[in-house]
């Protein structure tokens, strides 16, 4: 059996950030990657996708974006290239094309079985991603035959879809971006909207992520907020990274001609049933955005920030009245359903009793109850920014601190 001190599962930006922190402390480790570095950025992103965060926010331990467009947004392939450059810069001990099959607790550590070798490590860090696999609601089984269904991980561009109508289910980042792109391609889009996080791309002349970063919002800690489980399950923001910095909220999509309907609540007798809660979903998101902008305005006034535009409030979300409650999926109007219903981690290889009744890993800021087993790259792991590339540095430093203390005391 091969031995090392720490095994990191996943060579995306979080796995490489942890690797860099471990190397800085001379902790012997290897990083297993099922494909190449930044695998999911190469294989599971649609063609037009760009990061939601501006380039200047692409900051990793000992590494950052150094290009000429700090306010732009990296494409998926540029992101993959940046992560690859980071791996080279760090000389990270990555074992590519090595899939972790299982991790099991043993005496003084863990046995990690890969499709290549068997390893023993005193500590394991899962950096396999909080959004590894698309999540589909159970009602996807009820979709009538003849309709093509796909997930954002499979979607590449509109030309790959049949002509004809598309039902996009979910109005978070993936859903609104793909809905916009498909509708512009001439495929009439119906967008099923549940709870969502409305966000303008810019506010008072600054990128909305600048506000979140500068005001300290993204640094809010997991042990200092009221409802952590809610914060960890929040949908992604309705944002797109685009050269013109456009906003893709529901009003913008409606102006394009996208048909807005409520959350997909059921499929019965071949008809999609939509919730009658659409108006309230819009109201909740509008009010929440208003409160966020209030906090930004208050912060900017107290911090005497110069060079900002005047405060503004955005028009309330307009929803169709009456809302459409049903859509016949057998009429031929809808040819494709795109499930933009979120992503989940894939920790099926983790054979350690750290899961709750909903198969989520219980952890305290990435520290599991199983000594020496850590998690990183999950929503609000330790900070609001944990799921952003920019959140990896602080989380990796904290998790490495804990891990190093554990090794020293063990």
């Amino acid at each position: 059996m091969l031995k090392t001190t720490t095994i990191v599962v996943g060579a995306g930006h979080t796995g490489l950030a942890i690797s860099r922190c471990l190397a800085d402390r001379s902790i012997d480790h290897v990083v297993f990657e099922r494909g190449e570095v930044a695998h999911s950025w190469r294989t599971q992103r649609w063609d037009s996708l760009r990061l939601l965060t501006p380039n200047w926010m692409t900051r990793l331990p000992g590494f950052a974006y150094r290009g000429e467009d700090p306010d732009g947004y990296l494409t998926a392939s540029e992101t993959a290239q940046l992560i690859e450059n980071y791996a080279k810069d760090s000389a990270a001990p990555v074992r590519a094309n090595t899939t972790v099959v299982s991790v099991r607790p043993v005496e003084r550590g863990y046995v990690v079985q890969t499709d290549q070798d068997t390893w023993h490590a005193r500590t394991v860090v899962s950096a396999s991603g909080g959004s590894a696999v698309p999540h589909l609601p159970p009602l996807h089984y009820a979709v009538p035959a003849g309709i093509t269904t796909l997930t954002p991980a499979q979607y590449r561009n509109p030309a790959e879809l049949s002509e004809g109508g598309v039902l996009v289910v979910g109005a978070s980042a993936s859903g609104v971006q793909i809905a916009e792109e498909l509708h512009r391609s001439g495929r009439p889009v119906t967008l099923a909207v549940g709870e969502h996080v409305r966000m303008p791309r810019t506010y008072r002349g600054k990128d909305i992520l600048w506000w979140m970063d500068a005001s300290g919002l993204l640094d809010e800690r997991y042990d200092e907020i009221g409802d952590l489980s809610r914060a960890r399950s929040l949908p992604s923001m309705q944002l797109v990274g685009s050269p013109e910095r456009r906003t893709v909220d529901l009003n913008a999509l409606r102006r394009l001609g996208v048909r807005l309907v409520g959350r997909l609540a059921g499929i019965r007798d071949g008809a999609a049933q939509f919730s009658g809660s659409l108006a309230n979903m819009g109201a909740l998101a509008d009010l929440k955005l208003g409160r966020l902008l209030d906090t930004f305005d208050t912060w900017a006034a107290e911090a005497n920030v110069d060079g900002l535009g005047a405060p503004e409030r955005f028009a309330p979300t307009e929803v169709p009245a009456p809302a459409q409650l049903a859509l016949d999926l057998r009429s031929g109007e809808i040819r494709t359903i795109l499930w933009a219903t979120g992503f989940r981690p894939d920790l099926s290889w983790l054979q350690v009793p750290v899961f709750d009744r909903k198969s989520r890993v219980r952890h305290d800021g990435g520290v599991t109850a199983s000594p020496g087993l850590y998690l990183i790259g999950m929503p609000f792991l330790r900070r609001r920014k944990s799921s952003l590339i920019d959140g990896a540095a602080d989380d990796a430093a904290d998790v490495t601190d804990h891990l190093a203390c554990y090794l020293a005391s063990d």
Partner: protein, 186 residues
């Protein structure tokens, strides 16, 4: 904004509710409830329903007293009008649920309520239930709820109370989303 110095009291024991929520991770089964009513036909369109027991928190439960409700159709339908129509009970349920939510959320958010009024109007096209037009559904074509709330809060805080109440309302969910219903003959 809340500016009162005295403790906010809307008569809601939020601590008890939060206590239940805190207990759920260790005992998720206590959240499984069953609600019941029994209904007896009296005459014509008049029936009487009783509400007495339910199951929850892991054991049989009983209301403080047995409640009875008469349902009938109005004189305009050539009925005896011995009680509200069943569709009106739906509105009663929605109003009761949303208003309980407003009070509870206000308590949780430290907002003192002074008065809460709502009017609930349902549009209903009888072509459906009379079988006169197959394109018209039996149920409501729409429901409109209008709240008038006097509270120590800003207009947006009050709007947020009402929005959150809808988000957490059982009856709002029951009305806006499909529910599987089976009706058997014993």
């Amino acid at each position: 904004m809340t500016t009162t110095n005295t403790a906010v009291d809307n008569g809601v024991n939020v601590d008890a509710l939060l206590g239940v929520r805190a207990a759920l991770p260790d005992a998720p089964e206590i959240a499984q409830f069953q609600w019941r009513t029994t209904v007896s036909w009296i005459n014509g369109t008049h029936s009487q329903s009783t509400v007495d027991t339910f199951h929850g928190f892991g054991e049989p439960q009983q209301h403080k007293s047995k409640f009875t409700y008469d349902a009938d159709h109005p004189l305009a339908f050539a009925a005896q009008d011995n009680g509200a129509t069943p569709v009106e009970y739906v509105l009663v349920a929605l109003g009761g649920c949303l208003t309980a939510g407003v009070a509870s959320i206000a308590q949780q958010r430290n907002i003192q309520l002074h008065s809460v009024q709502a009017t609930i109007e349902a549009q209903h096209d009888l072509h459906g239930i009379l079988g006169a037009d197959p394109d018209v559904r039996n149920g409501f074509s729409g429901v409109k709820v209008t709240y008038t709330i006097d509270a120590d809060a800003t207009a947006d805080e009050i709007r947020a109370l009402v929005a959150q109440s809808q988000k957490r309302s059982a009856v709002f969910d029951i009305l806006t989303n499909p529910t599987d219903v089976t009706v058997d003959v014993a």
